[in-house]
Symmetry: C2
Subunit: 261 residues, 2 copies
């Protein structure tokens, strides 16, 4: 482990959460180093355009190179690249916005967002992060993780974002069991009031979950009795096709192939 690099990464995290930027002194305090140390690290990051210094206030903020690197991450991301066509198709088929997400720590990271076909103004959510237990994507992924990983994630303290958020490990374990049985996960206002989601897991050629794909929208449209089932089927089918694209099929996931063909 390289100490200075670890500290530099901490600095990026600090600047990412400090909306208006942060000064050398503040950064030094937050990461627990002397002021000149923080300064040297910041200058190095600045040279690489990972942070930028406000010419007036002297405060530091995140830099443009991060956006470039984030974009490069997306372009080299196997799941994301393959999912674009499938996500657009699904969005057109069900008439809702579609998200593709991966697990990053204990959060879900949205790596693709296909807009709702006849949508008005919609904001792009690529790059957004959501606690795994509050969204359908997260539950679909975690339900299919190896036992050990799943247990670790369920043990950690789970925040309640709305009154509907489930935080009890036992209730979640039960719900994940249901996800494995039906092949899809549902969220009903657990991350934001009124928003719902239906998502299914995506596997790669080793048979491990690599992410999930799902539809997002208002509770009224997504979870209405008459549409809900059809939507779940469409999402699940798309997830299977996408998994096949990624090479899933033979070893641990034969059942998917059998069901899809």
């Amino acid at each position: 482990m390289v100490q200075s690099v670890a500290r530099a990464i901490e600095i990026l995290r600090v600047l990412g959460t400090a909306a208006r930027g942060a000064g050398v002194t503040e950064v030094a305090e937050r990461i627990g180093v002397a002021k000149p140390t923080a300064h040297a690290l910041l200058r190095t990051l600045e040279a690489g355009q990972l942070v930028a210094q406000d010419s007036e206030t002297g405060k530091y903020r995140l830099g443009p190179a991060l956006l470039e690197l984030g974009n490069a991450y997306l372009e080299t991301h196997e799941l994301r690249v393959r999912s674009v066509a499938w996500a657009d198709g699904l969005a057109n088929r069900v008439g809702e916005a579609v998200w593709v997400g991966v697990l990053s720590g204990d959060h879900v990271l949205v790596v693709h967002h296909a807009f709702r076909p006849e949508g008005a103004v919609q904001i792009l959510e690529v790059g957004a992060v959501i606690p795994w237990h509050t969204c359908a994507l997260g539950k679909a992924i975690v339900a299919h993780l190896p036992e050990a990983d799943r247990a670790a994630l369920s043990r950690a303290p789970l925040a309640a974002l709305t009154g509907a958020t489930r935080t009890a490990p036992s209730a979640l374990a039960e719900e994940l069991e249901g996800v494995r049985a039906t092949g899809y996960a549902v969220e009903d206002g657990e991350a934001a009031i009124g928003d719902a989601g239906i998502a299914a897991p995506v596997f790669d050629h080793t048979g491990e979950v690599v992410g999930a794909i799902g539809a997002i929208g208002p509770v009224e449209r997504l979870l209405a009795e008459e549409t809900r089932h059809g939507l779940a089927v469409a999402v699940r089918e798309t997830a299977r096709h996408l998994s096949r694209d990624l090479g899933a099929g033979r070893p641990a996931t034969r059942r998917w192939v059998a069901a899809a063909s």
Copy 2:
């Protein structure tokens, strides 16, 4: 300057250009360090999720945290935040896609993309980078940079992306003069054949250029004699309003206010 951090940043750059990821040995060679050194740096970056290791091939690629940080950069970016509403308005007014960009080194970085209103499938270009001299956004920005910066950028070797790309410093200097005179810049198939752009500079409260906003689309629609002028006016007006939003007005940029009001 912290050596190890600078090297870590180099590694990110290397991984960003290596489409299929890179191994320890390759990374070590590219940045000119011993194999164990590269390994230690990679492990540290991996702990911070800035890179991820492929569990099978052992190769390293960029990690999800970069997308999160890139997103955080966008959300704290003054110009980007303020431009969202103006860009959408402009896109609706002129019926074309609208980009907002900033200068990052000698490239333009797209920080916002408003889709064309009645557009079919459009891919999102946020995070994309384009050489400054091949796009309208870049020319609009560079034309209004301080003399010294402008000279430095024009001196550097300029790549030709299409047959229409202007690379001669003298021709560019003349064009930039024209940009300053008219208040907007034009691109005609200089980055990609058939694509055109019209952009105007955006200033902040200090009177310095911070970026540019412009319309993008096929040459036939954008540069047709009958629409071209109206489009230029709309773009320029939007840029002025956006500049005012950022506090531009009194000191060095009085002329903009006078013209706009």
